[in-house]
Symmetry: C2
């Protein structure tokens, strides 16, 4: 069950940059019922955002040539497509956490947040 | 659906140290069907092991005094108790990945592995 959703100008998986820092600003829209869990999250803080990469292909076990196991790569395609993103908070507005740069596309489910 | 399970001498949540480096050596026992996804994982490599902290309490939103939101802490208790562990591979034996130090307890479900 997600705790929220990513809001971003990135609409398609093909548009997502390879490096987090190249992503556009985004908003982590946390469900209102989890708002108390954001107490203490503030601008300037670095967070780990854990996402579910819902557009990933889950039956891919190897990529590239020579074949490399997905557990040895950062490929989004993997059995459990969990995304781990280090983000810098620029503002917190209720249960909306604004971050400086994120490579996840709009609508990506958010699973967890932790301090980096 | 887990990709495997943690095997560790840590039997109880109370025994888990607070810092990853203080954990005992452990084995990430990956399901045989996902073994091809380990191709390229080797001794000396640093991985991010993503776990499901199955003993966590999921309805805790704030901890400590003054109350701090769990998303601003490393508390295992949180709505989606996902653990993120940086581990160093010491050996790979079939689908068993031996790591130097891990704070997760025996039986913790393993969700994903990525290069650190």
């Amino acid at each position: 069950m997600p705790i929220g959703v990513v809001r971003s100008s990135l609409g398609r998986r093909e548009d997502a940059p390879r490096r987090e820092a190249d992503g556009p600003p985004a908003v982590l829209e946390v469900d209102e019922r989890f708002a108390p869990a954001l107490e203490g999250v503030h601008a300037g803080m670095d967070l780990i955002a854990v996402t579910w990469l819902h557009r990933a292909v889950r039956d891919v076990l190897q990529v590239r040539e020579p074949p490399t196991g997905v557990f040895a790569t950062r490929s989004p395609d993997r059995p459990n497509p969990i995304g781990i993103h280090r983000v810098t908070v620029t503002a917190v507005d209720g249960a909306r956490v604004h971050v400086a740069a994120l490579e996840a596309i709009d609508g990506t489910p958010l699973l967890d947040l932790k301090p980096a």
